[in-house]
C-alpha cells in the first residue's frame, strides 16, 4: 500500500515537473531533459509486468496531452517499461531480494548508472525518432538524442544521490 502511494506521488510530481518546467528547458537549442523516464526505471523487481506497462502508458499519455504530442511519449514510455522488466534481471546482484528496489543503494553507482543510462538512451532514441519521423535533419537529431540523454541522466543521478543520503 505504501508502495502504491509512493508511486502515485512520484507519478504526479514527475508529470508536473516535466510539463511545467522541463518541457521548457532547451539547453543550447538541443537538450531537453525527459526526466519522467526515471519513473519507468525505478519499478521494483517483482512488480507485475502488466502493471509496469500500464503505469508507463498512462504517465506517457498524460504528458502527451499536456504537450500536444498524442501517442508520442505514451508509445515510447510503454516500450521502456517493457524493456525495464527484462533488462533489470541482468543487473540485480546474486541472492538479492525478490522485491528489490531499484536505486543506487541496492545496485551501486556503477550498475545503476549503466542500467539507467541504457534505458534513458533507448528512450530518447525512440522518442526523437518518432518525433522527427522523416529524419529531416539527422545531425541535429543525433545531437538532440545524445545531449538529452546526458542531461536526463545527470538529473536522475542527482536525484538518486539526494535519495541515497536520506
Amino acid at each position: 500500500m505504501a508502495g502504491l502511494v509512493n508511486r502515485l506521488i512520484m507519478f504526479v510530481v514527475l508529470l508536473l515537473v516535466q510539463v511545467l518546467v522541463l518541457n521548457h528547458v532547451w539547453l543550447l537549442n538541443v537538450a531537453t531533459p525527459l526526466l519522467y523516464v526515471y519513473f519507468a526505471i525505478t519499478f521494483p523487481r517483482n512488480t507485475a509486468k502488466g502493471e509496469v506497462i500500464a503505469w508507463c502508458f498512462f504517465l506517457g499519455l498524460l504528458i502527451d496531452i499536456f504537450s500536444n504530442t498524442p501517442g508520442l511519449a505514451a508509445g515510447s514510455l510503454t516500450l521502456i517499461g517493457m524493456a525495464q522488466t527484462y533488462l533489470l534481471e541482468l543487473f540485480v546482484p546474486r541472492d538479492s531480494l525478490e522485491n528489490l528496489e531499484v536505486s543506487v543503494v541496492t545496485l551501486g553507482w556503477g550498475k545503476f548508472s549503466v542500467f539507467g543510462g541504457i534505458l534513458t538512451f533507448f528512450y530518447c532514441l525512440v522518442f526523437f525518432i518518432l518525433e522527427a519521423f522523416n529524419f529531416f535533419d539527422w545531425q541535429l537529431w543525433i545531437l538532440r538524442t545524445i545531449c538529452s540523454t546526458a542531461l536526463t541522466l545527470v538529473l536522475m543521478l542527482a536525484i538518486e544521490s539526494v535519495r541515497a543520503k536520506r
Partner: protein, 286 residues
C-alpha cells in the same frame, strides 16, 4: 482450455503491451483528424486551467519587458501614422479620410484579446495554447497576432481554450506575405531551429527589395488583414530551382516571451467560405 488460461496468465503482459502500443500509434498517426482530438490536446479544460495558473505566475515576471516592448512599438506606430497622415493631407487636402478608413477597418474585423497559456519552441512542430475559445467567439482558421507582429493561425477550438499553429511550425504554417510598399508576394516558412529566423519563399524574380525592408501580411487570405508586420529582410538567396527568391527574415514577434495576443476575427469570413464552398460544389457536380 486450462493450457490456454495458463498461457494467458503468463503472457498477458505481451498482449497488453501490443494493445497499448497500437493505441499510441493510433493517436500518433490519427492526430490530423483534429475534430476528435480536442480531449487529447492541451485545449481540454483541465490542462488548460493548469497552464493558465502557471502562465499567470510567469506573466508577472515578464511584465516589465512586455510593457517596454509595447511602448516602443506604440511610439513607432504613432510616429508612422502621424507622418503618413500628414503626407496624405498634403497630397489630397482631405483631412478626414484617415478617420473614415480606420473605422471601416475596425468594423470589418473583431479583435479578441487573449493570453498565451502554453507555448513550445523546442520542436519542429510547435503549438501554442491560448485562453479564449468558442464561447469567446474564436473559430478555427482565425489569425492570431501580437503587438509586434503575426503569431499564427487557430487550429483547434474548445469551449474556453484554443490551440494555435504559430509561425514556428515547420510542417503546417504557411502565411501569405508581401514586402511592404512593394507588393511582391511570398509564403512564410520556418525550418526549425532558431525561433527568431524564418524564410519567405516563392518571391518572384522580378521583385525589387532592399535588405532591411519590412515584410508584412498580404491580406490575400481572409485570415490576416494586410499590413500586419512579419519581420525584416536579412538576406536574400536564390531558390533551389532558380525561379524565385528566398528571403531570410528576422521575425518581429518575440516567441520566447509571448503573453498577450489578439485573435483577429473577420466578419466576412463566413461569407467567403460559403462562396468558396458553393464554387467547389458547382464544379464537382458537373
Amino acid at each position: 482450455m486450462r493450457n490456454l488460461l495458463d498461457f494467458l496468465k503468463d503472457y498477458y503482459h505481451w498482449l497488453l503491451f501490443v494493445f497499448l502500443e497500437v493505441v499510441s500509434g493510433f493517436l500518433l498517426f490519427q492526430y490530423n483528424n483534429y475534430q476528435a482530438s480536442v480531449w487529447f490536446s492541451s485545449a481540454n479544460s483541465v490542462t488548460g486551467k493548469i497552464y493558465e495558473w502557471t502562465g499567470e505566475a510567469k506573466k508577472f515576471f515578464t511584465l516589465t519587458q512586455t510593457n517596454e516592448q509595447l511602448t516602443r512599438r506604440n511610439l513607432l506606430l504613432e510616429q508612422q501614422v502621424d507622418m503618413l497622415g500628414r503626407r496624405y493631407t498634403e497630397l489630397t487636402h482631405d483631412s478626414t479620410v484617415l478617420e473614415r478608413h480606420e473605422t471601416a477597418f475596425l468594423r470589418q474585423y473583431d479583435l479578441i484579446p487573449a493570453k498565451v497559456v502554453d507555448n513550445t519552441l523546442d520542436s519542429k512542430e510547435n503549438l501554442m495554447t491560448i485562453d479564449k475559445g468558442r464561447k469567446d467567439g474564436v473559430a478555427v482558421d482565425m489569425g492570431v497576432a501580437c503587438g509586434n507582429g503575426v503569431v499564427g493561425v487557430v487550429y483547434l477550438v474548445s469551449d474556453h481554450y484554443s490551440v494555435v499553429i504559430p509561425v514556428l511550425n515547420a510542417t503546417s504554417s504557411r502565411i501569405s506575405c508581401a514586402i511592404r510598399n512593394r507588393g511582391s508576394f511570398g509564403y512564410l516558412h520556418w525550418y526549425g531551429g532558431d525561433p527568431s529566423v524564418a524564410y519567405v519563399e516563392d518571391v518572384p524574380r522580378h521583385a525589387k527589395f532592399k535588405l532591411g525592408e519590412w515584410v508584412v501580411t498580404s491580406g490575400f487570405s481572409s485570415i490576416f488583414p494586410s499590413g500586419v508586420s512579419v519581420g525584416k529582410i536579412e538576406q536574400a538567396y536564390n531558390s533551389r530551382d532558380g525561379l524565385s527568391y528566398k528571403l531570410k527574415i528576422r521575425l518581429s514577434t518575440d516567441f520566447t516571451n509571448l503573453r498577450d495576443v489578439v485573435v483577429i476575427s473577420d466578419k466576412s469570413i463566413a461569407e467567403r467560405a460559403a462562396l468558396l464552398q458553393a464554387a467547389r460544389d458547382s464544379i464537382s457536380s458537373k
